[in-house]
Amino acid sequence: MFTVNSSYPIAAARSSPLVAIEDLRVEFAADAGAVTAVDGLSLTIERGETLAVVGESGSGKSVMALALLRLLPPPNGRITGGRIRFDGVDLAGIGEAEMRRVRGTGIGMIFQEPMTSLNPVLSIGEQIAERLRVHAGLGRRAALARAVELLERVRIPEPARRAAGFPHQLSGGMRQRVMIAIALACAPKLLIADEPTTALDVTIQAQILELLRQLQTELGMAMLFITHDLGVVAELADRVVVMYAGRAVEEAPVGPLFAAPRMPYTQALLRSIPRVDRTASSRDRLAPIRGNMPDARDLPAGCSFHPRCTEARAACIVAVPPYEAVDAAHRVRCCRWRELAHAGTDLGESAADLAGSRGVG
């Protein structure tokens, strides 16, 4: 049933990554000069892979996705360095018409707030069909029939009836399903999901995460999942990039990232979140990260995390630490990672943790 042939014209080498971002730099013009939102970011997304980019506000994670789509808000935001290749094509080198085709058929997107992304006066079926008519060249009747199939695909009950309805008649979870149907209409090779479950209730979030997992298996698309929630990362990601203040600070396959994080920021984030899979009591305490997120206009010298880092030394202030390989798949931006690994500051599942774990879920 998912047979739309993408009209996307670019032949790509199968072996190359689907997305390759090299040394990306994004700046925003501001009154007091340019602010660097993304600084020297490199990452790849393999075909069929789910890459989670995790970070807090100001980390640059959403700006990176907008840069990839060439949707940085004009005139202030612009790419000032680096290269983005999608499916073998340098996105800086193609015109706006071709870029629109990439956005239409190569990449699908879903955002945090589905209500503001949907047109309130168009029926749900028409909104999905519009995409199919523009980008897949389907006629009106065929596009509407396809729209109903897509609604069924995202597990919306009574899809034919829903296709005739309007966004305000749907719950938040159902709206996000509609957004997913629109994003998948032209069988994209990459789905970008920017905090797609943050505005949803936790029981609905679980449904959407389950749906995304199923759809990815069925369709074999790659996914760039942007979130602040390490729980969601653990549920979905194959690989993880942790961003802080515009830079990638750690990347690893999901298992090692949670079992043996190397960057003190990643370790501290994991310690600061409530864990329902461990026993706690009202007298237990979370371990917060001290201080605040740095201001992008006035980043700390050296490692941006050093003012908040319990492991910081004089060396951390001298220069931005290099992004070093822990092993073939694991990289970290911390000039002390080797010593810290020897000192055994791993946040892995210790015996005590396991003793305190319990079978929730």
Binding site: A206, D229, L270, N292, G361
Partner: protein
Amino acid sequence: MSIAGGHAPLLDVRHLRQEFSAGRRFSGTAQTIKAVDDVSLTIGAGEVVGLVGESGSGKTTLGRAILRLIEPSSGKIFFDGSDITRLPARAMRALRKDMQIVFQDPYASLNPRMTVGDILAQALNLHGIAPGAAREPRVVELLQRVGLSAAHLRRYPHEFSGGQRQRIAIARALAVGPRFLVADEPVSALDVSIQAQVLNLLQDLQQELGLAVLFIAHDLGVVEYLSDRVIVLYLGRIMEVAPARDLYANPRHPYTQALLAAIPQANPARRGRPAPLHGDQPSPLAPPSGCVFRTRCPIATAECAAVVPPLERHAPDHYKACIRQ
């Protein structure tokens, strides 16, 4: 902190109902939403009670009704032994010294045109606390208590991060020396690394001051660290009440079990669990008969549609509203 009668709870809410009319004003077919439906609860002096529910559960409405920020439709609210349900505005104003609230959004709850010093001084002024020359030292003391300093006195809210703003909102609530605090999702709008700071601050202040707290949250993760007892709310009704540890280790209501199972866990080894609930929460305009949870409940039977399950005692201090478990 001693309270009248020795064993009487500080706050005692009985059969509270809060209805709103969803007016179809033009067609004349007014409908009623029962946002809070027959809720009874108590909070002891110095006790922290977590109130957990998803959107539409009535948790925020309940918090506001208890503080009389909205007028309850029916039921009774006793504070410190006296009935405050219909207390006149003037007397209620005086009582606000004892009952305070911290809101979710620190970007909306602080006046952008007032300095931080003025925001705190205004709270003191309204209740005639620390007048004259005593005021500024008191304001500085409050700022220090929440981890800020005298250097912040003349700054405006926009100069602060979200976490710092929430500290200011907490300082304002505590300025008047309340005995009871409603904390309505106080960390939901904050970055992950900042949430733990604010939670720990609340925990410290609660213990130092012996505050009773109603801590409102949308999921069970955050509540566990602060609460002595937890109440789980769904579509305006209490599903389960239990001591925190007991509720997490041994949830008895299928909704509580689903809420716990739905929380994404920072543990890739546990991934891929099926979503615990199907479908959406029903419209509060047309709640299901009998048990309001039955339309999504994995173990519901025909019987569940017939009667509203009473909140029954399952173990000491552990109550659940389910006829099936």
